[in-house]
Structures are given as C-alpha cells and as structure tokens.
C-alpha cells in the first residue's frame, strides 16, 4: 500500500510538472541550443566518460561509506540504501524529465520540456550525424550531479526519516529546487549564467549542488526534529574506518566533479584538478590545526571533515582561481566549517546529524563568495575583487547565494509540511529505537553468529 502511494505520488508529480512546463514552453518559443557542448574529440569524450564514472563513485561507495560510518550501527544500511536508491531513482527521473527541466527551454528562470524522455538526446537514425553524442555526454555527466545532491541532504535527517517519505521528498526536491537552480546557473539562458544579467561563477556546483542541498538540509533538520536522546545519550560514529574510506573515495571522485566540469580534457580541467587537490589538502591541515589548538589533538574525523570542506569550497571556484588561491579557499573552509559544525551547531541546538549544512551549506556559501573575491581574468573569468578592486562580481556571487538559499528554504519547507501532513516525515519512536535497518529495510548491517 505504501509503495503504491509512493509510485502514485511520483507519477502524479511528473505528470503535473510535465503539463505545467509544456504550457510554459509554448509561451517561450523554440528549444535552446544544447548547453555545454563538448567538441567531438575522442580525448574529450574519454575524459568526460571517466569523470562521469568518478562522480557516480562519489555517491556510492563514497558518500555511502562517509555517512555510513558516522551513524550508529543500527542505521548503517538505511544510509547506504538512501544513497543506492537515489542512484536508481534520480537517474530515471533525470532521463524522464529532470534533464529537460534543468537544461531545456530558453527562459532565464525555469527549464522546458524539449528533452522529455531524452528526446533530442538520443540518435535519430540519420547516418553521419553524431551531434547527439555531445548532448548525451552532458546528459550523463550532469545526471551524476542530480543523483548526489539530494544524497547530501540525507546527512541532515539520518537515523530518523521514513524511507518512503525520503524517496518522494528527494524526487520532488530534485525537480523543484535542483532543476531550477541548475537552469539558472548552467543552462546557458539562466539569469545567473554567462548570458544572464547577474553572471555568477559556479564552475562545478558550489551553488547548484552544495548551497541548494546544504541549506535544504538545515530546513530538514529543523522540521524533522532531533534524534531521540540527542544531547542526553552518546551518539558517536560507529565506524570511522568507513568514513575515512568514504572520504578518500569522495576526494578522488571530486576530480571528476570539478575537473570534469571543464567539459573537455583541456587546460581548464588541469587547473581545476590541481586547485581541487590543493584545496582539499589545505582543508585537512586547517581543520586538524583547529582541533589541535582547541582540543589538544587532531582527529581522523576532523581531517576527513576538513578535506570535504575544502573540496566543497573550491567547487564553485575551481575554474576561476589558480591553484595557490585554491589553498586559501581550502584553508578558509577548514576553519569556518569547523566552527559551523562545532560552535554554531551546539549554540543553536539543531540536530544536523552528519553536518550536511555545516559542511556543504556553509562551505558552499563561503566558496561562492570567495570566488567573487579571487576570480582571475587569466583563466577566462571576470576578475574578482582582488584583481579589479570592484565588488560587482562578488555581489553577483552573493545574489546567487541568496536566491538559491531562498528557493531552497521555501520549497523545502513547503514540501516537508505537505509530506508531514500526508505521509509523515519520521519513523515511529519504537522504530527509531530499534534502528532503521531492521524497521525500514528488514535487514541488519552486522550479523555475527
């Protein structure tokens, strides 16, 4: 019965959105040119295929292990299942309508229906016409981002959200938050893209991926409430070994995320690759130093957290700053996110279980703003504050942060309120105490005979 409801809800949403966007597409006219076209070159194609695989690796095993190690052992499978299920569900959603809503249409604000069911992306049978291959690479590469972004939010409501509600929420969130923001920034006609009036740099997803998911994660944490016993009983990570392996996989996968966002195997990709690596390294050092000073010793979890914070922060800037500036961004992220995940969270008392907001939200916002400060014309970007002395690019970055956060907050809030009234957000107390592995999925992560 539950599954029927989930299926019906998903299909209804897809149909409603399709109808709505069909009407909209008729108003705005012809389909746009395909975005981010990759030149048909075997080197570029090879590179983009590898990058697509690397980004998929970030969700599972990367994020699955990173988050899985941080929860209690009775909930490890629930976290991994969320990651794996999103790989399936978001991929199909991307093919059916997500890609179209993100990259179709020529409106500055919302995508269109041009590519529904991959229309125009698949070969049409005409011999000698290989143009579709470019679009298909964009489709699959961008699809990996569509998968991991709602996966990041799972860190905020880990250990207590109903699985069926999580599925519906992620699908709707993807279509109503991710796709519009993606369209604004990357579609080519979006109001935050290079053709728009407020061009904000977001090389690989600081705004589209991290701010949108991080801010939504905070809304989720606030609305779903704290875990039972939060603050009263210990909830330490059950296996930091997994978290370390997950971090390492995320770090490697991030090369596909950021360097792949160059769209080709070129100089921009090399710059993004190196800047990404240096920022992650600086993040490790910064968070570890903070712990050394504040707590007397650096922890593995701290080093892992610092690496991810640095990676998040460099993401919007990877193609607009040089690698040495990447170190500054990574270092800044390590310090700022450390305070966000320790002092700020404790002060306000919200249970962002795995620090999705503290690292992705805060790190993403920091990276977006610092991109406006450090961007350099030498790499083809509009010069930032340091290079030009003008704050116009920084202001554009701030506008993109505020707009993305506003959309994410409003839509996430409304979605969760509706889902709370219809499906319920949270598992029953008894189920939460027994753990989500058994109660939501009927299996155990660890069976020792």
């Amino acid at each position: 019965m539950k599954s029927q409801f989930v299926t019906a809800a998903l299909l209804t949403t897809v149909l409603l959105l399709s109808v709505g966007n069909s009407a909209f597409a008729e108003e705005i006219g012809d389909p746009p040119e395909p975005a981010a076209v990759v030149e048909l070159d075997s080197g570029n194609i090879a590179w983009m295929l590898i990058c697509s695989a690397l980004v998929l690796m970030m969700t599972a095993p990367g994020l699955a292990l990173f988050y899985g190690g941080l929860v209690r052992k009775k909930n490890i499978l629930s976290v991994m299942m969320q990651c794996v299920f999103l790989m399936g569900m978001m991929t199909i959603l991307w093919a059916v309508c997500g890609y179209s809503f993100a990259f179709g249409g020529s409106s500055p604000y919302i995508g269109g229906t041009d590519y529904l069911f991959m229309k125009g992306i698949l070969p049409d049978g005409q011999s000698g016409d290989q143009a579709w291959a470019n679009e298909l690479i964009t489709f699959v590469f961008q699809g990996m981002f569509f998968i991991i972004t709602p996966g990041l939010i799972c860190g905020a409501f880990a250990e207590r959200m109903k699985f069926n509600t999580m599925c519906v929420f992620s699908a709707l969130w993807g279509l109503l938050v991710y796709c519009p923001v993606c369209h604004w920034v990357w579609s080519g006609s979006g109001w935050l893209s290079s053709a728009g009036s407020f061009h904000a740099y977001d090389f690989a997803g600081g705004t589209v991926v991290h701010i949108s998911s991080g801010v939504s994660a905070l809304v989720c944490a606030l609305l779903i409430g704290k875990r039972l016993g939060y603050g009263q009983e210990p909830m330490p990570p059950h296996n930091l070994t997994y978290t370390c392996i997950g971090t390492a996989l995320l770090w490697v996968g991030w090369f596909g995320f950021n360097a792949g966002s160059a769209g080709a195997a070129d100089a921009a990709a090399v710059n993004a690759f190196v800047a990404t690596h240096l920022a992650a390294a600086a993040g490790v050092i910064a968070w570890s130093i903070m712990e050394w000073v504040k707590h007397g010793h650096p922890s593995l979890l701290g080093a892992c957290s610092g690496a991810v914070a640095g990676l998040v922060c460099i993401t919007p800037a990877a193609g607009a700053v040089n690698p040495m500036q990447g170190i500054i961004l990574g270092f800044a992220a390590g310090v700022v996110c450390f305070y966000a995940c320790t002092s700020v969270k404790n002060k306000f008392g919200y249970d962002d279980s795995l620090d999705a907001f503290g690292i992705h939200g805060i790190g993403g916002i920091l990276g977006a703003v610092l991109t406006g400060v450090f961007a350099t014309e030498k790499l083809g970007a509009t010069g930032g504050f340091i290079e030009t002395g003008s704050i116009s690019q920084t202001m554009n970055q701030v506008i993109s942060v505020v707009a993305t956060a506003a959309l994410a907050i409003v839509v996430t809030f409304i979605l969760l309120k509706i889902l709370d009234a219809t499906m319920g957000l949270r598992v029953a107390q008894e189920e939460e105490l027994r753990g989500l592995d058994v109660t939501q999925h009927g299996e155990e992560g660890y069976i020792f005979l």
């Binding site: 210990p234 909830m235 922890s299 979890l301 995940c341 002092s343 404790n346 620090d355």
Partner: protein
Amino acid sequence: MKKIEAIIRHFKLEEVKDALTEAGISGMTVSEVKGFGRQKGHKEQYRGAEYTVDFVPKVKMEIVVSDEDAQKAIDAILTTARTGQIGDGKIFISELSEAVRIRTGETGGESL
C-alpha cells in the same frame, strides 16, 4: 582447587601467559572485557560533541589450579602484569568446589 580471575592490560597478555606456562599452569581461558576501577574512563570528541566513555577495555584470564599451584600462579601474574601505573588490573581468587573434564569424566585435580 582455586579459580583465579585476573583482569590485566591487553599488551601484557602474552607475557603473563608465558610466565604461567613456565610456572606449570596448563590451561587458561581468556576473554576481552570492559570495565573500570580507579583508572576510570576517558573522553572522546567527534566534531565538537564530547562523550565520556566509562568502560576501559581489558583482558580477563580465568585459570583453575590446585591449591598448591595457586600462589605460583598469582606470583607469576603479579610480576609480569605490573607496570606500576593506575589500570594494571586485579586478581580475584575463589574456592572452586568441583571441576570435570568432559572427555573422560575425571573430576577434581585430575581434571586440570
């Protein structure tokens, strides 16, 4: 017969086992345990959240010996398990009413 239960540090296990073997003790049962005495626990921190862990991991050895061998066994444990620091552990000695070797049905000192 006496039953000797010794709670000792992990890294002392091999040394204590060798000393007991040398003293002619022919068998023992070892298990991983957690507990606390004067050593107390320790604090752990995960992203700013501090947890007090009360129970310290130790090794428990269980040995059953004849009355004559008991003091030798206790001396062997005392000399090899000691570091002089808090947390060296304890030895508990109790009277044992009977022991039976399952394979043969032997009882008392014959079963050891």
